[in-house]
Structure formats: C-alpha cells, structure tokens
Symmetry: C2
Subunit: 293 residues, 2 copies
Amino acid sequence: MFYIIGLGLCDEKDITVRGLEAVKSCSRVYLEAYTSILMVEKSRLEAFYERPLILADREMVETESDEILRDADKENVAMLVVGDPFGATTHTDIILRARALKIPVRVVHNASIMNAVGACGLQLYNFGQTVSLVFFTDTWKPDSFYDKIKENVDLGMHTLVLLDIKVKEQSEENLARGRKIYEPPRYMSIPQAVSQLLEIEGLRRSGILSPEETLAIGLSRVGGDESQQKIVSGTLAELVTQPADAFGEPLHSLVVVGKRVHHLEVEYAQQFAVNETGWRHVARNVYKCALDD
Amino acid sequence: MFYIIGLGLCDEKDITVRGLEAVKSCSRVYLEAYTSILMVEKSRLEAFYERPLILADREMVETESDEILRDADKENVAMLVVGDPFGATTHTDIILRARALKIPVRVVHNASIMNAVGACGLQLYNFGQTVSLVFFTDTWKPDSFYDKIKENVDLGMHTLVLLDIKVKEQSEENLARGRKIYEPPRYMSIPQAVSQLLEIEGLRRSGILSPEETLAIGLSRVGGDESQQKIVSGTLAELVTQPADAFGEPLHSLVVVGKRVHHLEVEYAQQFAVNETGWRHVARNVYKCALDD
C-alpha cells in the first residue's frame, strides 16, 4: 500500500491516529518538505513516529516517483505531507503513477490552511478562489493574483492569500555556475505581502484594495497553542505597518475581507483587531455591515 | 481548558493524536451531532476515546452553552465536532461565550469536506464560494444557491455543493402538536441534488447548468478506504440517472466543474468517470480544455 498522509498544521501530534498507525506499518517513509513546513524539526517527527524519514524535495517527488513507489505493491510505503495531501498538484501526479503501476493507494486527510483559515472567524463558504503571492524581485513582479482578488472583491467574497516560501533556492550566480549551494529559507511576512498588494494596486488602480478602507486578517501558525498562533485583523494600512516580528515565526497567511461579510464574522474577528473601534468603523461605513451599535 | 476538537471525516481513528490526548484529559466530553455525521456509532467512539460522550444537539449548543462550559476554567471539557471546528457558525458563538467567561479555549483542527474535496482531483484554489442545497418540498424550493453557482460559473470556478441532512426533524403535524417525536434521519443523495439543480435551471433558464454540457463530480464518504469512499464524475445527465444506491451510505457532496478547469484536473477526475470518452469530449469541446489527444 502507498499511503499519502497529511500531517496537519503544527507538530508531530497533529497526525491522525489512522495516519500514525499507517506510518508505523511502513518500511520506508518520505517527508515531502517544500510546499509547506511544520513548526518542528524532522528529528522530533522521527522520534515520535519511530521511523527514520527520507526528505523528499520537489525534484525527487517529480523525477523519482518510481523510486518512492518501489515495492509498495508488496510492503507499505508512506509519503508525509504538511497539511492535507491535496494541497499541491504534485500529489495527484504520484497517485496517478501509483495507479498505473497497480499499487493500491490510501490517502489520509488532515487539516490544511484551506480549511483551518476559518480560525479567523470568517466563514469558509464565503471565500472565493485562493491566490498565491510570490516574492517580488526588482525585475519580476507577477501580478495575476490581482485579477483573481478583483474577481472575489467584485463578488464580495473573501480571499485567502497564500504567502511565498523559498526553500532550497539557489542564488542566480550559483544557479548559473551549477553550484548546488542553497540560500537560507525565506518566508514572506504579512507586512511584506500587504506591501506587495498595495504596490500592484498602485500600478493597476482599479480601487479594489485601499490602505484605509480594505479590511484584512493576518494569520500565523494556525492551529498552534496560544503561544504560537497569532491572528491580527485591521485595515491594510494597519497590517503593513505591523513590526516585522509581530507575527513571529512562519508560516503566515493573509485574508482580504470581502464586502458580503456578515456581522457575526466582523464581531468574531474584532477580538484580533489592531484597533477595535477602527475595525468596526470600516466594517459599518465602508462594508455596510449591519452591526448592532 | 475548553477544547473544540475536530474529528475528521470517517471514524474514531481520524482524530489527531493531539485531539485524542485532549479528550482523555477531559471530565466531560460533548459530541456535536447535527451539522454532519461520522460513519460510525457513538458507542464505537466512546470505546476508543475511553470517555462517555454527551450528545449535544443544535438546541443544546445554542441555548445551553453555559452548561457545556461549566467549570471549564478549572477542569478540561471538550466538544467534539465532525470535520473541522470552523465548519458552522455555532462554534464561533460558543468560543466567544467562553472568552467572555475567561475560559481558555484550544481548537484542534482536522480535515473537513471543505479541503478533503480535493480528493476528486480538482484544485482547491480553483473553487469559488461554497453553497448548500436543502431538501425541496412541494411548497418550499429555496433557490439562492443558484445565484451563487452562477457567480462561480461566470468566473469559471468550481462549486462545492453541500447536501442537506435532516437529523432530529419533526413532521409538521408533530411540530404543530408539540410532540417531540422525530423523523428518521434523511440525507440528500447526489441524483436528488442534481435533479434539484436542474429543476431550478428549468425555472431560471440562465443556461449555467446543462444536462449534457455541465460536468460534475459526486463524492461520498470522502476519506474512507476503498470500500467506503466513492467518487463518480460525469455530466449532470449522467449523475442524475445514477441508481439511488450508486453512492452508498451518506454523507454525499457534489462539485460543479468550472470552465477554467485545468487539463490535469480533467485527467485526474477521468478515473472516476461514468463514461471516460464522454467526459473528455465535454471537457475538450465545451470546456475548451487543452487535452493532449
């Protein structure tokens, strides 16, 4: 059996009982570690799962799937994935490959940011399409996310914005010279994400994102305990000026609040507001949300 | 501490290790059982969790939250929720109430249909807003879902349609006479859901849903093993004529495929097709999807 097992959001204990039993039955266990990260070191996972973990980077999953699937028709092999297994296209590729090889596959689901984002108090069914935001460089500022946010904003839907992470990236020089030297990992912060949104709004000027009149919610380490998870709500102007360390360690995500926001959503997210009065003021006067007072 | 713990999708083993440890530390454990259901009986959960479970119906969660939260500042109390805790508004209500009472709260996330629907091969970030479909009666056919599907269809987004369940409902006669006699639970089937979609399309006639030219995917018991989970893809005409037992036991969900579908999504979902040739034909000719052949 080939298992693809979601690890959830935080640490070694977020695996499900079903997932843990499966891991312990496996002769080889791969840890996919490039589309997201957990909050703990690999060694802590290995100690808890009682199995050595083979790190599988993007290159390996994409080009060596037959090695990962080797003998999975005769013994159990698992690939562990942060969040849920259906967060990234690559996992459907390896499932299709397994089926072609007549290897039985079992997916073990878990929480991912796509549903755990509900922790901010916005209702999941009011979210439109999800967008990804990549690190801008001086010469490369891809802005297709803007059109998607605009589609959601025009309908009044919320938008979950997933922030870029750079793991095992090479510098341009090292890449050009073929040197397999990797840069330290980088994770986009919420102020940086908001800054990039506003930069593109400044170029495109369709008025969908306003520093003072667009509400947003930054989330970090969703699913962690009170010392880990951090949620901050406010206007884009408030979020962009948060200190760099306001959200702590990665991973970070951002939600742009849509105009159809319900008053119960506003009330719930108010507990996370930089400025509660300001939060309610914009919700009432710009979003036309029917708040009690 | 007040814990709200997601149980995931299928059975007692879908709880996370963190969730299980929390349950075993609790002096009272409530099972919320009206917005969704697991595939197993309460007694099996109790045996595995080693705790008696107090069933909490909608009325209890909404009106007796202080009883549920009693002493949670001094001991541990848990409410167990099928899927993830942020699937229904009610859970934000009880969290707000706990905070007002200065009771610490910890949410333990899990998979829900909102992210596990990725099992059908469609990418989660290509989904628009989620809609709910309720049982029609002769006199009551609420159709606001249609406008929302239209918004998604117009943008080319996929739509997750959540199908009604009726648990602990009273007949009109028993309700009128104040008799607390409840009807057997009812779960909307996928053919019935498609039939209701087409009924409203017949009335509204905006052409967003076509029996022969709209692709959809029915899912049941997502997250179950091969004997449980069932996914069937096809045109609406194909799904509406599936035998009533084609999808087996509840819960069932439906996805309406949007026009921006990527060829890898079509390729993946093809394995579930009623008719693979027809599936590809509509994807290529109606959806204009760039398939290889």
